[in-house]
């Protein structure tokens, strides 16, 4: 047999092998998996991953998110806060997260977390209120912090190991409203809401109050068209509602409560097509998605709240017996939990500063005194014996006022009428927190399209 024949025979063998290959490969994979499964158990305990091996000195905190962390809105901002505290306290804090969890799977996730030694759980959706309550009762040694809930919504008495926190935006919505009122040329402003729950209704109203105040100063007549999606995260519906507001109602400024930047993108497209519609960042900076249309916005600093909570758990100030009494954060501008801005550090988009600075209105003695009290004498412009200020400076004044330790100014100060003409807040009175948390009426000049 010569060399060529030997080779040929071998090649034929390879050919046979190849046909048998698939079955052979599959057998290999099965064996590999079975041995991996066996090995996994061994390695798991060898590497100290077992229940006894958990490091005892580190605090373990977990976040359960309702949406994906890539939403560039609500969940993204919470996850930013998580990463911040994880970095800052890395020597004694371990964190993890679970995203896109439905209320039905919440309890399974909580139990997996407890199984892994997590003792601090942040539930970042209103939808998790009932399962958080149940989980807190079932696991009295675990600390539960629920974002956006309050004891009035609970089905029973508040467990001692369940606390609440929230970064409240209504002051910022009011400021955005001032700017919207100054910028609109059609006098028609839109608002795309997620749900008509008190939190969102409060924000819509604060926004409308700002717009109406600007309208009063500038002698405009303004109508606010409000519609709702029925979901916290639904970019498609948000976009189509925004588009309806523009094409059917002639709206040229849109504020929204939805966890994506769909509406900002829509407004930028309108701008590019020569029909500018202005909007605001919501929860996370959205300036980059609409540099020509994002006027300002409401931004959150969950990390401020998370840092405070976690460090107080670490020092023992908060424990399983006192969350009910001690943890009820309702933080706003004064605590630094929220920020006015199209982007962090950019309270008002530079493209709009000139316009807002040249939009002047006549001020009365009361406003003049407020400007002076906050060191803004330069904002007062005297012409022909009358005193004027710009909307830009009014926004800056209100921003300063609301940062004060004691309440100097609050948007929800009477007289406030609802859209049926009833006087809801008596002149000079201010709504209290309970009234703000149960708000179910719209202020005047709001037209509810979803009723």
């Amino acid at each position: 047999m010569n060399r060529a024949e030997v080779l040929n025979r071998n090649i034929r063998r390879i050919g046979v092998l190849m046909e048998e290959k698939s079955r052979f490969l599959i057998s290999i994979i099965i064996v590999a998996i079975l041995s991996a499964a066996a090995g996994a158990a061994a390695m798991y305990f060898a590497l100290g991953g077992g229940p006894a091996g958990a490091a005892p000195t580190k605090l373990k905190a977990a976040w359960i998110y309702v949406g994906p962390i890539g939403d560039i809105g609500w969940t993204y901002a919470h996850n930013y806060g998580r990463l911040y505290v994880a970095g800052k306290f890395s020597s004694w804090l371990d964190t993890t997260y679970v995203e896109s969890v439905t209320a039905a799977d919440f309890s399974a996730c909580v139990n997996l977390l407890i199984e892994k030694g997590y003792t601090i759980i942040f539930a970042t959706s209103f939808e998790f209120l009932e399962p958080s309550y149940t989980a807190a009762l079932q696991n009295p040694n675990v600390l539960f912090f629920h974002c956006s809930g309050w004891d009035i919504y609970l089905p029973g008495a508040q467990p001692t190991n369940l606390g609440f926190y929230f970064a409240e935006f209504y002051q910022l919505y009011y400021l955005n409203g001032l700017m919207a009122g100054a910028l609109t040329t059609s006098g028609k402003i839109g608002y795309v809401a997620a749900h008509y729950i008190p939190e969102v209704v409060r924000h819509i109203n604060a926004f409308a109050l700002g717009a109406l105040e600007a309208a009063k100063y500038l002698n405009k007549s303004i109508t606010i068209y409000v519609t709702k999606i029925g979901s916290w995260y639904n970019p498609d519906v948000a976009r189509s509602l925004a588009s309806q507001l523009v094409s059917n109602y002639g709206v040229d400024v849109i504020a929204f409560t939805e966890d994506s930047y769909a509406i900002v993108q829509f407004c930028q497209e309108q701008f590019d097509a020569g029909n500018p519609v202005y909007t605001f960042s919501h929860y996370s900076p959205m300036y980059t998605y609409g540099p020509n249309v994002t006027v300002s916005g409401q931004l959150v600093h969950w990390e401020v709240i998370y840092e405070d909570i976690i460090s107080k758990v670490y020092t023992g100030t908060y424990n399983k017996d006192n969350l009910k009494d001690k943890v009820d954060y309702w933080w706003m501008l004064r605590e630094g939990a929220v920020e006015l801005g199209a982007d962090f550090g950019m309270p008002i988009n530079p493209n709009f500063i000139k316009k807002l600075n040249t939009t002047l209105f006549e001020i009365d003695e009361k406003l003049e005194a407020e400007f002076k009290a906050f060191g803004m004498e330069k904002a007062i412009i005297v012409q022909d014996g009358k005193k004027y200020a710009s909307i830009y400076n009014l926004v800056m004044l209100r921003l300063k006022e609301m940062r004060e330790e004691s309440t100097v100014f609050d948007p929800f100060t009477g007289p406030i009428y609802d859209n049926a003409g009833n006087l809801r807040v008596l002149p000079g009175l201010r709504l209290n927190r309970y009234e703000l948390w149960t708000m179910d009426w719209f202020v005047s000049n709001i037209i509810n399209l979803a009723s």
């Binding site: 190849m18 996994a40 679970v98 209320a103 399974a108 997590y118 009932e130």
Partner: protein, 366 residues
């Protein structure tokens, strides 16, 4: 030259064989992918697939989700056997959920559990069946493609639920879009205490799967359905009614998904109440298609594949928790499984061999 030879197998590989391979290979490949992200696949395997089943709460979750998939999956098997591609389990489920809400809150709110729970399931079956029937009649009588109609009926059911929870059935006590809570006699978990899983659904599902098996393989109706599914022209020549087989299979398919819908709301660990549609069906009507295919379109193996899929979902959460890797881990498992399933479906029926001739020619030079 590479030559790929595809030959139809004289005898198809058994589903038991191909599905086992799909499951094992997809878990294996998912773990390989995870290992690229610095996750030890051995530990991942343990944390994802072993730890969750060691706890009672793990099983409560697996069974709650698994029973939804089981009922939908068995229903889909009937439709698929008749060659009807029902992708409307999502909508049929929602109709079942609507039925449960209607019965427990408005029809017989005072009835005791012994009346309430069977009525919810019966009306749930009827509502789901109605949704299946519409698509079935349109296909049988007018030849309308059922893939389109069932898909569109999903959206309609979706909007009906939205309308109900935001409008006429909205709970006046909250401004959130939910119905009032069901009366306690309608809570499947409260009659199952101390077990954390709905016993009525468990019994129902474990009875229905064998019944459907008997129906499909031991009765005339089942024979007709299978005949229409495998060769409609030949079956019609033998006098089997095409319309009857298609309509009945869609009726049953929709009805079983309706039962799943009843379980999804009334058997929830949360307070049973109608919620926003995405909170009720959660896309499980589509996952059930995967469950039905993995079973080899047979009712009994669905019991296994549905529970397995329930575990896969929990495993996804477990991986997220252990490695902070996000929802991608869940999508990875289900996505790879679907991919391998499609590949295996071809491999099951065709013999595939690859011959590299160039190699042979090159080697001959030496």
């Amino acid at each position: 030259m590479i030559r790929i030879i595809i030959k139809k197998r004289e005898k198809e590989l058994p589903y038991a064989y191909s599905s086992t391979i799909v499951i094992l290979v997809s878990i294996f490949l998912s773990l390989v992918v995870l290992s690229f992200f610095g996750i030890n696949p051995m530990i991942a395997l343990w944390e994802a697939f072993v730890l969750p089943i060691l706890t009672v709460y793990g099983w409560a979750n697996i069974l709650y989700n698994g029973l939804i998939l089981l009922l939908c999956g068995v229903g889909l098997v009937i439709a698929f056997k008749a060659g009807v591609w029902n992708i409307g389990a999502e909508g049929q489920m929602l109709m079942g959920a609507i039925a449960a809400t209607w019965v427990s809150l408005y029809l017989i709110p005072k009835a005791p559990s012994i009346v309430m729970i069977p009525s919810m399931f019966i009306v749930g079956f009827l509502f789901g069946a109605l949704w299946g029937f519409i698509a079935g009649v349109l296909k049988a009588k007018l030849g309308v493609n059922e893939v389109l109609t069932t898909m569109m009926l999903n959206y309609i059911a979706y909007q009906i639920v939205y309308y109900l929870v935001m409008g006429p059935w909205a709970n006046p006590a909250t401004s959130y879009p939910v119905s009032k809570p069901f009366p306690e006699q309608a809570w499947l978990l409260s009659v199952s205490r101390p077990l954390p899983v709905s016993v009525p659904t468990l019994i129902l599902a474990l009875t229905i799967a064998p019944l459907v098996h008997l129906m499909l393989f031991r009765t005339k109706l089942g024979y007709e359905i299978r005949a229409i599914g495998s060769n409609p022209i030949a079956a019609r020549t033998y006098g089997i009614s095409y319309a009857k087989a298609v309509i009945i299979s869609m009726l049953l398919s929709g009805g079983l998904a309706g039962l799943a819908g009843v379980h999804a709301v009334a058997g929830s660990i949360l307070t049973p109440q109608l919620r926003r549609p995405e909170q009720v069906s959660r896309g499980f009507g589509f996952v059930a298609i995967l469950v039905a295919w993995l079973s080899g379109i047979k009712p009994l193996p669905v019991i296994f594949t549905s529970i397995l899929m329930g575990l896969v979902f929990l495993a996804g959460f477990a991986i997220q928790i252990s490695f902070a890797r996000g929802i991608g881990s869940t999508h990875l498992f289900t996505g790879v499984m679907l991919l391998i399933l499609s590949i295996m479906e071809t491999y099951r029926r065709y013999e595939i061999s690859v011959r590299i001739h160039a190699l042979r020619r090159i080697l001959r030079w030496f």
